[in-house]
């Protein structure tokens, strides 16, 4: 076991997030009023690399090109339209208060901060709430077909962690429609030549020249060629690291490699332990399984979650002797409604996930594995009719039916928590700049706005806020000092070295020629992550996980087998490079979780809970963002702290009961 980090000393190095002074509601306006800008003639001379074409990447690339910068945009899929933001289902929050139900910028700010268990920055979250309304306006102007009322105005639905209806949606395909909106804006700029698009490219490294990010190394996934690109600034929106768990709701190519390479080049990695386990996913069913499918949180608007009240009934159901529909109302335990009367089925995701795990661990789970609970629409169907439910969730019900082969209009869905989103990520300051100058990080890839738990319908809001309305401002404050900087040649020694290092890494993997497939090692890592770094974490479990990850790292670097050639289309090699980095992020997650001796949001240490099983925070000692600094391969990373100072909001224990 590695030597335990000294985490609680007050003299641990502290980091400054560059939060503007002044009253909370005026910080962002003041920042914009006084920041440096780049004039139009100079914008033409500046190049910006944007990695990723999800909500954050596509909206940033389009907006920066509209302003006049030259943008190089990289995309791992064959088209920017396929980035994984597309799979977001339920909706996007905004403080419009169109429903006249008491919403406001402050309330959205407060709910988001509280939902994150008071582990996010006040100033960032307030800015997010401020720009939320502009996002809706922008998307409507792009032709995003949001759901509407008969009077022609925009419709809203409710989501977890809020007592107002502030979520805008487009059927169960909100992420798709918002992404296609950003994609259309991006395509317009590609058509004009303002954005040069590189699809089927994967970023392998960031190139730092004289302490500033000045380019990237990327692999052309079709030819296998490793290529160099230079620019005046690098923006990375490469998504989260949930696939470290092997089974997750992420897409197959979603990966942590860009983030890990940034970390290795000096960007701090913040709060890696904060991962979100989403409560409503289709349960695991077989060994061959490649991914988990999410059922939108919006279903909790009309679905009621329950397990049998009596263990005998749960056992009979697991054995196939009874069906859900055999149980009468008083034989069912609607445990969320029972435990959290005020929020009921709409408690935040971390609370709902832990409650499901608690019931299943206690022996009340259903399905043939016992690792499932029911999500039941029968009372809504009775109240509203099947047609209304079909109009709201038709595509989700159809998706469930295809995968499970059961009709959820007739029999309750079975759901279980699964890893879905990562709140942790690359550390950024208020300007979304990492600890490497000129290197920016946006969307899920950064750590900024969700604290220890993200509320539903807030990921889309944050991705688009970063890309449309925050980064296009803050990056100019940096670039204003770079207008004299020339376009760098990619023949500089820094580019040579970065490319050479990548070639060495790739050839090392190719030469191992062991007997383990990449997937088999990834699956092994995933099981360790789920069992010990998942919903319930303990000191012993995390120490064990760190040992196991060390073994898995060794297995990978001595036994992996990658067929084919490196300079060719080689999917196994792509996967191997990603798994090497998932091992590193797995280590960071376990390390961070072990350090944080408290429970907050998605991070639940079993040693730290209230008598009724709720997360027990320790604001005295752990009110900081943990930032990990890379010290070289095989070396222990150093912990740095960004203190989270609450000037405007009084922290409380989250209460969703009354």
């Amino acid at each position: 076991m590695a030597k335990k980090q000294d985490t609680t000393t007050v003299d641990a190095p502290q980091i400054d997030a560059k939060i503007p002074a002044g009253p909370l509601a005026e910080k962002w306006s003041n920042y914009k009023a006084h920041q440096k800008l780049v004039n139009p003639a100079n914008k033409r001379r500046l190049d910006i690399i944007v990695v990723g074409t999800g909500l954050a990447g596509a909206s940033a690339a389009a907006s920066l090109a509209e302003l006049g910068f030259n943008v190089l945009n990289f995309c791992i899929q064959d088209s920017p339209r396929r980035a994984h933001s597309i799979a977001a289902q339920g909706g996007i929050n905004a403080a419009k208060n169109y429903q006249n139900d008491g919403d406001s910028v402050y309330r959205l700010f407060y709910d988001t901060l509280k939902g994150g268990d008071y582990r996010a920055r006040e100033a960032n979250v307030h800015r997010l709430a401020e720009v939320s309304n502009s996002i809706i306006d922008q998307c409507v102007a792009q032709g995003v077909p949001f759901a509407r009322e008969y009077g022609g105005l925009l419709d809203n639905r409710s989501f977890g962690g809020a007592q107002v209806s502030r979520t805008f949606y487009a059927k169960g395909q909100t992420g798709q429609q918002l992404l296609l909106g950003a994609y259309s804006a991006l395509s317009r700029q590609v058509g004009k030549g303002a954005v040069k698009l590189y699809s089927r490219y994967e970023m392998l490294d960031v190139v730092v020249v004289d302490g500033r990010a000045r380019g990237i190394i990327a692999r052309n996934l079709v030819t296998g060629k490793v290529e160099r690109f230079s620019a005046h600034a690098v923006v990375v929106g490469s998504g989260g690291y949930g696939n470290a768990f092997f089974l997750s709701t992420n897409a197959m190519t979603s990966n942590a490699s860009a983030a890990i390479q940034m970390y290795k080049k000096g960007a701090y990695f913040a709060n890696p332990a904060y991962a979100q386990i989403h409560p409503t996913c289709i349960p695991v069913h077989g060994e061959y399984q490649s991914k988990l499918t999410l059922m939108s949180e919006s279903l909790r608007n009309d679905g009621r979650i329950w397990v049998p009240k009596k263990k005998e009934d749960a056992e009979a159901i697991r054995a196939g002797k009874k069906k859900a529909t055999d149980l009468s109302e008083d034989e069912r335990d609607y445990y969320l409604e029972r435990r959290y009367p005020a929020f009921g089925n709409l408690v935040p995701r971390d609370v709902a996930s832990r409650a499901a795990k608690e019931r299943c661990d206690a022996g009340f789970g259903v399905g043939n594995t016992g690792l499932a609970v029911y999500l039941d629409f029968s009372s809504s169907i009775q109240r509203l009719g099947e047609e209304t439910i079909r109009a709201r969730y038709g595509n989700l019900f159809q998706m469930y039916d295809k995968i499970v082969d059961e009709n959820p209009y007739k029999t309750p869905m079975m759901i279980y928590p699964a890893i879905h989103y990562t709140m942790g990520g690359v550390w950024v300051d208020y300007e979304l700049q990492t600890s490497v100058k000129g290197l920016f990080c946006i969307g899920e890839a950064n750590f900024s706005d969700h604290g220890a738990n993200r509320l539903g319908a807030s990921a889309l809001m944050q991705g688009l806020a970063d890309g449309y309305f925050v980064l296009p401002y803050t990056i100019q404050n940096y670039l204003a000092d770079q207008i004299q900087a020339p376009r760098l040649s990619t023949d500089l020694p820094e580019f040579n070295e970065a490319e050479k290092a990548m070639h060495t890494k790739i050839e090392k993997i190719m030469k191992i020629q062991g007997d383990r497939t990449v997937d088999s090692i990834h699956r092994e890592l995933g099981l360790v992550m789920w069992d010990f770094v998942g919903m319930g974490r303990t000191k012993e479990g995390l120490e064990h996980a760190l040992e196991r990850i060390k073994e898995i790292r060794k297995t990978f670097w001595t036994k992996v087998y990658v067929p084919g050639l490196s300079a060719d289309l080689n999917v196994e090699l792509e996967k191997a490079l990603r798994v090497a980095d998932f091992i590193e992020i797995g280590d960071l997650m376990a390390r961070d979780a072990l350090m944080r001796e408290e429970s907050c949001g998605g991070h639940f240490r079993e040693e730290y809970q209230t008598p009724d099983g709720e997360a027990l925070r320790n604001d005295e000692e752990y009110s900081f963002a943990s930032c990990w600094k890379f010290n070289g391969d095989g070396e222990e990373p150093t912990l740095l702290k960004e203190p989270l100072v609450y000037e405007f909001v009084k922290r409380q224990q989250r209460n969703y009961k009354a």
Partner: protein, 251 residues
């Protein structure tokens, strides 16, 4: 209940765009009927890797039917013969024990094969770049509720906007036409006041680009609608034609 079946796969293998391809047969025993088609291919690929052979290259990503990355012509149908299903959502319970399943890439002049079952669909991006957008910059737009839109129009626009850009329509079409793809975007934006303003110019620009990229003409066979995994209606093609004709009249 979980069952397993034995199948034979006939898979198109082609090392690179320029070389000749061929069908290779693979026998697979004990395939779980609860696994998806792509999970079945994962199992085959892991076996091939263990046998020190090249795995089959195929496109896929979200595996929940929304990203449009997966493709495959299965037994003569894009995304298999099930209606309203992408390949990633197709499950092995839809096949019979002992069945031989033929798997090919999209066959369309505008979608050249990259390797095995992987094709280049960049042409669809180029069509969107030619005009599949509303010309607004970030910022300075009116309030989201400033222009009421009838629910009927908004819903119809949403139906058109469900297109995932997978290419099944062009792959299914005997003429290799991309009309349903183009029509879905033209129709979505023409139905909304925000997109209405550029309606005619958009239709003209997108159709011109489609023709230039080597897609064929539409002869109304309806194969695209039948094979579309998102059930996009060919009534959108009629709306595209109206937009296109009105643009021509104004020339």
């Amino acid at each position: 209940m979980e069952k397993s079946i034995n199948i034979t796969l006939k898979v198109w293998r082609q090392a690179s765009p320029k070389v000749k391809g061929e069908f290779i047969s693979y026998k697979m025993d004990n395939v779980s009927t609860d696994s998806s088609f792509l999970e079945m291919l994962d199992v085959l690929n892991e076996r091939l890797v263990k046998e020190r052979k090249e795995p089959i290259a195929f496109d896929h990503d979200c595996r929940e039917g929304i990203c449009g990355m997966c493709s495959l012509y299965i037994n003569g149908h894009p995304h298999g013969k099930d209606g309203e299903t992408t390949t990633c959502q197709l499950h092995m319970r839809r096949f019979n024990n002992g069945e031989t399943i033929t798997v090919e890439p999209w066959r369309s002049a505008a979608f050249p094969v990259i390797k095995d079952l992987m094709v280049d669909r960049g042409a669809y991006d180029k069509i969107i770049q030619a005009g599949g957008y509303v010309s607004v910059n970030t910022g300075g737009v009116p309030d989201g509720n400033a222009i009421p839109i009838s629910k009927i129009d908004a819903d119809e626009a949403m139906d058109a906007a469900s297109c995932i850009g997978c290419g099944a329509c062009a792959a299914a079409c005997k003429n290799g036409s991309a009309m349903l793809f183009v029509a879905a975007k033209v129709s979505q934006l023409a139905l909304l006041p925000q997109g209405r303003i550029e309606g005619a110019a958009r239709a003209k620009a997108m159709v011109a680009k489609m023709d230039q990229l080597g897609f064929g003409n539409c002869t109304n066979t309806g194969a695209c609608e039948a094979e579309c995994p998102k059930a996009i209606s060919i009534s959108h093609i009629a709306r595209l034609n109206r937009e296109f004709l009105s643009a021509k009249f104004n020339d």
